[in-house]
């Protein structure tokens, strides 16, 4: 049965099982690497190596920068690509959902370009912009653009017709209709799009930085690969995951503030 801790958190059977699982995995990791050496350091690092590499990255740096510098570089690129994409993508998706002529106008081109995975844009971006920040922002933009357009479009297209009619009956003009009916009703769907966009941004960033970069977490990953430094590979993976999780949680917080009326 559920119990409350002094901190007020509910301790469930699931969370206990979860903690035990994680503990067992860490113990197993110790056992296979440090204790018995069944898994050698060129396959997977031991926990000590992992921590040492983490400290090394944080203090003296690796692959051209410290932990903070590398992380900030990656965050910056994701932010640039992501925000450019949503600033253009959300209004575009909105327009396509709102007016069928705009949809008909843009959809064929969209259908033509959509099947191309964002990662496939990387070589073209490099041809156009070299290994600069610009080429990565371009690729992240492409990746983040598609989900924000599609989901905004779907959200707006599926707006509750009765709400629209109710607003019209009560004398709302186009601008009030958009800001007080369409936007709020489509908001949950728009946020779903943003979440997917953010996820795509990170995937693409990692790929783009692996292909070629001078700084960034993907650069740490590719340098560590070339050095066969498995500990540093793992550090980079973990930092990328944490950075991704951090931005996702940030977005979820924004969503919670914006969509206050939602009960679930």
């Amino acid at each position: 049965m559920d119990k409350r801790t002094p901190w007020g958190r509910v301790v469930t059977r699931s969370s206990i099982t979860g903690v035990i699982t994680v503990a067992v995995v860490i113990a197993l990791w110790f056992f296979l690497t440090s204790v018995t050496g069944i898994v050698g350091q060129y396959r997977f690092p031991s926990p000590q190596d992992f921590l040492a590499s983490f400290v090394r990255l944080a203090t003296e740096g690796y692959a051209g920068g410290t932990l903070i510098e590398q992380t900030l570089q990656s965050l910056w690129l994701v932010a640039c690509g992501f925000f450019t994409a949503i600033v253009i993508g959300v209004p575009l998706g909105f327009a396509m959902g709102y007016d069928r002529r705009i949809e008909a106008f843009l959809n064929p081109v969209f259908l033509l370009l959509r099947p191309i995975p964002p990662l496939a844009w990387i070589p073209l971006a490099i041809v156009w912009l070299g290994l600069s920040d610009g080429s990565k922002i371009l690729v992240i933009f492409v990746a983040a653009f598609v989900p924000s357009v599609i989901n905004t479009f779907t959200g707006v297209r599926n707006v509750d017709r009765t709400l629209v009619e109710a607003a019209k009956v009560h004398g709302a003009g186009t601008s009030r209709l958009i800001s007080e009916v369409y936007l709020p009703d489509a908001a949950p769907m728009i946020f779903t799009g943003l979440r997917l966009s953010l996820q795509a941004s990170w995937t693409t960033l990692v790929a783009a930085e692996l292909v070629g970069a001078f700084l960034g977490l993907g650069r740490v990953l590719s340098t560590a690969y070339r050095d066969i430094n498995t500990a540093m590979i793992l550090v980079a993976m973990v930092v990328i995951a944490i950075a991704g999780a951090f931005t996702t949680i940030l977005l979820a917080q924004v969503e919670k503030r914006v969509i206050k009326w939602r009960t679930t």
Partner: protein
């Protein structure tokens, strides 16, 4: 009350004509160099050339074939492991509690971040790319099978139990078919992510396949080759999605009687 816009197809035609028109015009007018943006016709021409003359060691369709076989390997592996795992998680609470924390951690690691380990563990020939595809395609397989299994009516599971079915039969004849619509939807997402992960892996460490064609095209400063590859990648992705969409429609038709 539905707004009437008149026929919509002229808008679609206008969009397409404008897109290709501007593209062709920009190139024809010499606004950008051929080394930056080839015209649509040049891309088409290049596609035909690559089908007949080897590039980066092989013909275009040979590259595509080798990529596709890798994709099939990784994708099948993800489905064969992920779907049963998801179903079992939906049936057994304990397994769900054990897997969930590990899965949550894994989900935040971008699939491409596995490339270094994949290459170190399984090489860059077949094993490594398959692992990268697997890591990309695994999550939706598990999540959708799990959700599907949770949505299977409790009464159906109880009916199976009271008619003497063991856990294996419940999994095979109740959970799997009950969750199938959700599973197939998950497979479509998986396939898209797996295909894209493979392209990523081929850009980074693998030296064959359609992704490698792009890398070579890029270093030869041949954007028409790069764009040909992009076009083909999109086409194959569309084909994969088409097949799975067909399967999805069939499953729904049979299950829901539509």
């Amino acid at each position: 009350m539905r707004r009437d816009y008149g026929p919509l197809w002229p808008w679609s035609v206008a969009g397409l004509v404008l897109f290709f028109g501007i593209w062709q015009a920009v190139v024809s007018a010499g606004l950008v160099s051929n080394f930056v943006l080839p015209s649509p016709l040049e891309v088409l021409d290049r596609t035909i050339t690559l089908l007949g003359r080897p590039f980066a060691g092989y013909l275009l369709h040979e590259h595509v074939f080798s990529s596709f076989m890798r994709f099939l390997g990784g994708f099948s592996l993800a489905a064969v492991i992920g779907v049963p795992l998801g179903l079992m998680m939906g049936r057994f609470r304990l397994l769900e509690d054990i897997v969930t924390p590990l899965f949550e951690g894994y989900r935040y690691v971008a699939p491409l971040a596995w490339v270094p380990f994949a290459a170190l563990w399984f090489g860059t020939g077949i094993g490594g790319p398959i692992m990268v595809i697997f890591t990309g395609a695994f999550a939706p397989c598990v999540i959708n099978a799990y959700r599907g299994a949770r949505l299977v009516d409790t009464y159906l599971i109880e009916a199976a139990q009271t008619h003497g079915a063991g856990e294996f039969r419940i999994a095979k004849e109740v959970l799997l078919p009950g969750a199938l619509p959700s599973i197939v939807a998950g497979l479509r997402i998986s396939a898209g992510l797996g295909w894209q992960s493979l392209i990523g892996a081929e850009l980074i460490v693998v030296s064959s396949g359609i992704g490698y064609v792009m890398v070579q095209g890029q270093s030869n400063l041949s954007p028409s080759t790069v764009m040909t590859a992009m076009f083909v990648i999109g086409l194959v992705g569309l084909g994969i999605d088409f097949v799975l969409r067909f399967v999805e429609a069939r499953v729904r038709a049979k299950w829901e009687g539509k």
